[in-house]
């Protein structure tokens, strides 16, 4: 088990190294960063001074090692547009994004699993068919459109919810949270739904399909032959077997929820990392773009690792094969 975790961790470091190379090469191929910092009429001597102060005149391998060593300590250089350390900017924005992503995922998981289980067990009811129809909309409508429609309905027409921003936030150490104020909670609702709707429909359809599959298996038939109650069969035996693939998908989806919160954050002007990234792209602020790339891949890799370990917790068969392989 420990060996398994260690091996996966080493693989994860390998992936991060590869991403680091890509992030670093962005500096080399996306134009001369000095031009982004100085103004058009800056004399050549001054440009050289800036170049030297940023270490951009060193040989490429030296720069790479330095970049990597810094990145490992979460130092991503200074933003060209804000003249502030990128890590400070990211840290400031991260709580907003994580809070949004977690709310969206919880919304997606809870509703997705409930709706999926319901539509598998009561396949022929009107409600189950309605869920199926709604899930098609969730899967096919683009995120920004859902966001705009929600804003139009609940912010513009009904005026119940704010159309942008995070509302009031409370500071807890370095973390800022909108979960403790009413306006913060209200501001969370629409972005969470927008961001989580696709995952919710995905999870719902997956749970439904898996559950139907599991209900056809021999051990469910045998459980019925043993006279167990319907509740024990559906929620004890069937649901647990259904959740194995759901864990993978939900885990991986959490990564993409964070990565693709860019669109939702833009629509709702949510002050998170995604919005920061969009602004960085507009201003060719490469340190922020590179750091964002690294952060997102770190999150992805970490989630993958956690999902792999979670598997072995749920499925005893993996526990022993993993043990044997290690």
């Amino acid at each position: 088990m420990l060996a398994f975790t260690l091996r996966r961790a080493i693989q994860a470091i390998g992936v991060m190294f590869a991403v680091g190379i890509i992030a670093f090469s962005m500096f080399r191929f996306a134009g001369d960063p000095v031009n982004q910092i100085v103004s058009i009429d800056t004399p050549a001597a001054e440009r050289e001074a800036v170049r030297k102060s940023l270490g951009l005149d060193d040989p490429v391998p030296v720069q790479f090692v330095r970049y990597f060593a810094d990145a490992a300590q979460f130092k991503f250089g200074v933003s060209y547009q804000f003249r502030q350390p990128v890590s400070a900017l990211l840290m400031e924005r991260m709580p907003a994004t994580l809070e949004l992503a977690i709310c969206a995922t919880v919304f997606a998981m809870v509703l997705g699993i409930l709706m999926g289980v319901y539509s598998a067990l009561r396949r022929d009811t009107f409600l189950a068919k309605l869920f199926q129809a709604v899930s098609l909309i969730g899967i096919s409508l683009p995120t920004f459109l859902i966001g705009i429609l929600l804003i139009y309905l609940f912010a513009v027409t009904l005026g119940w919810l704010p159309s942008f921003g995070r509302g009031e936030v409370v500071r807890l150490g370095w973390w800022t949270t909108g979960l403790l104020t009413l306006s913060g909670l209200k501001a969370l609702i629409m972005p969470s739904i927008t961001l989580g709707l696709f995952q919710m429909t995905l999870i719902m359809r997956l749970v439904r399909a898996e559950m139907l599959e599991v209900l056809r298996t021999d051990y469910i038939r045998f459980a019925r032959a043993r006279g167990l109650t319907t509740r024990a069969i559906h929620f004890g035996h069937a649901l647990k077997n259904t959740l194995i693939p759901v864990i993978t998908v939900a885990g991986l989806q959490f990564g993409s929820v964070i990565a693709f919160s860019i669109i939702t954050e833009t629509v709702f002007q949510w002050p998170g990392m995604g919005l920061l990234f969009v602004q960085a792209v507009q201003n060719v602020d490469i340190p922020i773009m590179a750091a964002y790339l690294l952060m997102v891949s770190l999150i992805f890799v970490t989630i993958n690792l956690v999902v792999d370990i979670l598997y072995t917790v749920v499925d005893p068969r993996l526990r022993s094969t993993v043990g044997r392989a290690a």
Partner: protein, 328 residues
């Protein structure tokens, strides 16, 4: 005469399909007495498993019991409300399925699955149920049961898993065990052990056993009586020695002729020409008539009913002396 544990009368099971209703079981009747093992044999699709499943009330839609009645120790069970039927399943009727590898939920310890079943049916505390589970595992011949009880199904071999399945089937002391091809998925040496285990449990607890299989060897070794099924009907039923040594129905004769013998003189095994009709294309009259060497006109129009013939009962016009005489 005491009441039979299981009494099936004129059972009909139908499956609704796009091309109309298919009748998988058409008027099957049989009894099983306390402590008796009834072997049910036939080709694939003859309706053996469906008969077993309808007794325990596990026919899945679009299938349904369309007629007849099933009585368990006198109590009619084919029309019980689902919740009462559930209480009968596992408690009064135990079921063993074909594939032990897929019969157990892979995510739960075998002990938890046994305890869960025990506590569903018997009013026992957790520790008492666990003790009973260990006893059951010991009874079905699992070595070191107090240790294996905490194992997961994948840690057991196929034969051991079938023993666990049997322990699950008998954990509430059922009056009837339905074993649906319990040895088909096992290798031959393990088959013999499982068969003798089922036989021993039936004898020790006085449990009636309905043993569904296509293996005549298993039937001959285990059963007291045997029912030969063909295309959803019982062609012949009777004491196992009689049916094996002296089969009456042409189909049963063909089946027995197809069993290789060790003492075998060097002769070819008898083969029944053709194959069993599909449910959608059962011929009128006797369903076996297109393949039967003795078929005459009446077989093609008139469906034969079971006729008693000594201890046996056979559904074949060849044995309808009265009718034959009246025709003559």
């Amino acid at each position: 005469m005491t009441e039979p544990v299981l009494s099936v009368r004129n059972l009909k099971v139908e499956f609704a399909s796009r091309r109309g209703t298919l009748r998988a079981i058409d008027g099957v009747s049989f009894d099983i007495a306390k402590g008796e093992v009834l072997g049910v044999v036939g080709e694939s699709g003859a309706g053996k498993s469906v008969t077993g499943l309808s007794v325990i009330g596990l026919i899945d839609p679009p299938g349904r019991i369309a007629g007849g009645e099933i009585r368990l120790a006198g109590l009619r069970i084919d029309n019980l409300p689902p919740e009462e039927l559930r209480r009968v399943r596992g408690k009064r009727i135990g079921m063993i399925f074909q594939d032990p590898l897929t019969s157990l939920n892979p995510l739960y310890r075998v002990g938890d699955q046994i305890v869960e079943t025990i506590r569903t049916h018997l009013n026992l505390s957790g520790t008492a149920a666990r003790r009973r589970a260990i006893d059951l595992l010991a009874e079905v011949g699992i070595p070191a049961p107090e240790k294996r009880i905490d194992g997961y199904p994948h840690e057991f071999s196929g034969g051991m898993r079938q023993r666990v399945v049997i322990a699950l089937a008998i954990c509430a002391e059922p009056e009837l065990i339905i074993a649906d091809e319990p040895t088909t998925a096992l290798d031959v040496s393990v088959q013999a052990q499982i068969i003798s285990l089922i036989k021993r449990l039936g004898r020790d607890h006085g449990t009636a056993v309905m043993l569904v299989t296509h293996d005549m060897g298993v039937i001959a070794e285990t059963s007291d009586r045997v029912a030969v099924m063909y295309a959803g009907r019982i062609a012949e039923i009777g004491p196992v020695q009689d049916v094996v040594k002296n089969p009456l129905h042409p189909y049963a004769k063909g089946l027995m002729g197809a069993i290789p013998t060790l003492a075998g003189e060097d002769k070819r095994l008898v083969q029944i020409p053709g194959s069993m009709p599909r449910l959608s294309a059962i011929p009128p009259g006797c369903s076996f008539n297109p393949r039967c060497a003795f078929a005459f006109d009446r077989c093609r129009v008139d469906r034969p009913d079971p006729l008693p013939r000594g201890a046996q009962s056979v559904a074949c016009h060849l044995y309808d002396d009265a009718a034959a005489e009246s025709v003559a």
